[in-house]
Symmetry: D2
Subunit: 349 residues, 4 copies
């Protein structure tokens, strides 16, 4: 028993000039604490990429775009290291803002916010932005973007964001955008709380000005669960918690109800700063999710407690170095008549 428990000694990493990020991550497999967990995230993600007929969900919480994560996320989309994105409205709004040429600025968390208000500067922790520029985007969404949309049609957020991608195809000054990359790579984006963002409320203003645009929450639930229902296998990656995490988790519950088979997710990654002890869904362990049948009983799992702006650049750099040329079976989604056809094609990504 004891010898079984004491099998693999830790291997304290050496500091070596030659190590690239992927090499560093490999050397962290044999240490303890969250460092090992971060190495585990890279390893589990690698396995997800090699699995055939596997749909990889990415849940993206918070406001990661103002913090500079836009190109890293769009790299994941372009290279099809993920297949479906579920995001907060904030990430998509700020992505759209940068795509159209807007900027966020290095600021400070120790500042006088009442003074910032007087200068119409909005603060996101240590990032500043010009509120007037945000206002122009809001007007653009309300006036220009909504011209793409029809009245009285129950849109899913996926459909709205597809239209936005199409518009950015034409208008974007900065091509390395999440929404645009997803449009081009045919990666669906869901934003289940679209109303809870500047993107949502700017569309709402069009309604106050006479339009009748409808964003139907229930359609999001329908469409998203169809993906998990039809996919032979699903993997999930949660960057932060919040609605994106729960929304992806529940597709497993719905698909299991619908098919009367266990459709729990097959492998799972989470990078978060929330903690299990507060009892919330955002911080809960994958073990807890197993009790609900959201994550499979034999799933490969990796959870790392770390700020995303540290973990994500490292993990994605390491993956990129590990797979310079990746052949993957990539899912293709065809949405029609309120239904989904799901195919797979082998691609060099």
């Amino acid at each position: 028993m004891r010898s079984k428990l004491l099998k693999q000694p830790t291997i304290p990493p050496k500091v070596e000039a030659s190590k690239d990020v992927s090499g560093l991550m490999e050397s962290m497999r044999y240490i303890g604490f969250q460092g090992r967990m971060l190495a585990g995230v890279v390893d589990v993600w690698s396995k997800m990429l090699k699995k055939e007929n596997n749909v990889i969900w990415l849940g993206l919480a918070g406001a990661m775009v103002p913090a500079g994560m836009r190109r890293i996320i769009s790299h994941l989309i372009r290279r099809r290291m993920i297949d479906v994105l579920v995001s907060t409205g904030a990430n998509l709004y700020h992505d759209c803002f940068e795509a159209l040429g807007g900027h966020h600025y290095l600021g400070s968390a120790h500042t006088n916010d009442v003074q910032l208000r007087k200068n119409r500067i909005d603060r996101i922790y240590d990032i500043f932005a010009d509120e007037n520029k945000f206002y122009r985007l809001d007007v653009w969404i309300q006036k220009k973007f909504t011209s793409m949309l029809v009245d009285n049609y129950p849109y899913s957020s996926r459909e709205i964001l597809f239209q936005l991608g199409k518009m950015l195809q034409e208008k974007a000054r900065e091509k390395d955008s999440i929404i645009l990359s997803a449009y081009n790579a045919r990666v669906p984006i869901f934003c289940p709380a679209l109303g809870d963002s500047s993107l949502g409320f700017s569309i709402m203003f069009a309604n106050r000005a006479g339009r009748s645009i409808r964003v139907d929450s229930l359609k999001d639930v329908h469409e998203s669960s169809k993906i998990t229902e039809k996919a032979p296998k699903t993997s999930v990656i949660y960057l932060g918690g919040g609605v994106p995490k729960n929304f992806i988790q529940q597709t497993a519950v719905i698909a299991s109800y619908q098919t009367r088979h266990d459709r729990s997710h097959d492998s799972a990654i989470q990078i978060t700063t929330d903690m299990p002890i507060w009892g919330g869904l955002s911080g809960c362990t994958f073990e807890e999710a197993q009790s609900w049948g959201k994550i499979g009983p034999r799933a490969k799992m990796a959870v790392c407690y770390c700020d995303l702006t540290i973990a994500l650049p490292i993990v994605v750099s390491a993956l990129n170095q590990r797979f310079p040329k990746l052949r993957r079976t990539v899912p293709e989604f065809t949405w029609k008549d309120n239904g989904l056809e799901l195919g797979f094609g082998v691609e060099r990504v």
Copy 2:
């Protein structure tokens, strides 16, 4: 300068048998760290209650009902210590579950979740529940509750939850329910990410079975921002972060756009376990919110970092003891033709 900064010495509280919860909170006004902040929450909330023509928003994140907070929240509603509720779907689903006679159980966070799965027991940190009972509720929502709803009407979540309150009026076995109390007290409830919950997906299943029920996200945005627009003053209380916090925050931004006047919230409370340093909206300070014009530059503010299941019973007990008989000007909401009439009446609550 120095004498100005060193004015009020700390007063270390004595341990006294006679102290009730309210007295304990008062004695914590003169200490340091989060204890003082908790006393500050009680004091700012007291001021909110005394302000005339003030609409008090409550944002409720997480899954507080499984953790036993149902009666405390419904007490706040019944005694009109709050006026509008914005909640996650989870809280409302579990409230409905308990209202209809369901139970959550004391469990343990150190357990074998794969074993729980085999027994169809769902775990929420240290709380257990019977999945089969949840399933019955899901079917009830899909089959019974949706019979209250009409097809092809763009519902706001508020309208859905009003209908649910009406149904619970008749069916509830346990009257001390959040949804039912809100229905009776005419307190509107918004659930901006309704789809992201068992409540939402059970309604969606009715659609798969032939119905065409629509939950329109944008209508939530419209209705909620009307409240802040029409209210002479607004106060906000955030129990946790997530969508409820951001959703209430943004009503100030929308109302300011709409009226071209500053409609920032007038006083603000937050109890959370999230931290500013991760850069997210859930953990951000009210100072950050001031830079956006969401919270007013001279707002009374109290932020306390504490698990809600500790802080909430204490704060509400203290408020209850402090105001055995409260006369308050209470807002009355009349929704018609996509618009809102807002009146106030003095009530003994």
Copy 3:
């Protein structure tokens, strides 16, 4: 199996005017998350008080005295709800400061610290203090207090603090002091990192001025482990982590080595804001401690994640209300010739 796991339903507490703090805690036994844990702390502490021939260790980290916790800690000592104190130097230094008439002041965490420096105001989160007054205490320790001490004697920190208690017996203007209460109640205080505090460095200055005072770390280890060795039973309460927690934990390891029997602690409480996931001793679970034999395999345990300035006033108020008249078998320590005699007497405390 399932029925065994689903036995005790949660009982959502009602808000009632009549509840005192003890009653509130009792109503929180049947909820979830950290609220239940806090109720558990009160319950496990109650059991510790009722056990016969039980020595209760208290580990006190941080700087709780500036935050206003002095009288609550000295209440615990005076009423013998604890029997031995292990503390950081900070708590003892600031206790001595307040005992001699000094004050800490309500300040703010959002301030200009460079400006404070110019005014010689020292900040501890949201507490301010007058550095000149601290300086006077430092001189008092260096010049007056050290006159009680002899040269070239290897003092344990316990002996130093006993002498300080004796001096405060005479000099204290505020009697409700931790050090003085411990002196009067014959409760030993250990400060294993005495050098790491203003108390320690002020004594060191006496040495630079010609004295040869010795504080022997190893003697602390010897004396403290003798307590656990000789006690029929030991209980531990950790308020925060740090050196006090580890120091008390290791007395079990040493006593087990010495006696060649399992001397693990018999019941255990921890209130902390540190987290297990970072891998440190401060945040680690009692389960981890069981693997080391520091906590017994069948120990009653309660861990609550909460700021002490919230949890401690509540827990001690509840205990005080629950035990207005407590008869307890109280340990009596007699130190002689580098050894310890440990007796017990029944006292009404």
Copy 4:
């Protein structure tokens, strides 16, 4: 004003195969949140290395050696990227253990600890170790190591650890040890709470067996503050908080008292998972430290909230790549007659 505040736009990093760790860190200078802070740690540390006549303190809390950080710390010592180490006893004990051929093992945090106890396996979060092997080290310290020490001499922890380094020079099977590297590089190590560790208590057992070894806390305070007093400039790096952080902070206070000049530290780095809001010294900001005169009013500062086992391998790899050949003015410490001579020499490190 506004244009001054909105000067440097964020630059979202691209994912590039060619990036080494140093390049990745450089690309993170222009993002937000903790990622930028981590890049800032590398930049401030780089500046520390380039400053002339600068003594760099490293405070090392926790149990980082079991988590695999031994070689990284000893690399810092060998290449003189730090000049003085202040550590918990745990790090030094486990370093000694690995130096003498012992191993820690990859384990799991989700385990049955009572079962581990039966197998005499000690757990440190997700690391396991063989308690019997620890016991052998304890006996070795008690019986062999103490033969290097004389009775009735007031040792500082630095002197004890120097002797241990000397012994490891001869006995170590693994040369890449912190204590041994420090001995060879003439880097002093302080362990202000030496008694609070297996290292300390094993020496204490020698006393119980007849020896009279003395470890004098006050001598540590004296010696350590002499370093800050005599150094033209001091920089501080805190890996975690606890006693090591406070102990290094207080050398500035003592040195300022002694010299009647401001001897605050000149630049400062902290990597921690503790939070300012709990009011403790471990998590407090450097701004708070400025109010005390521990950190200078114009100090370069970088604070990053991250698990050390993630941050440290990255930061040290980046530094190593940035400075393949570093010429530094390196301090040399000569201890004699209870005093210190401090010189500097230019070295290629």
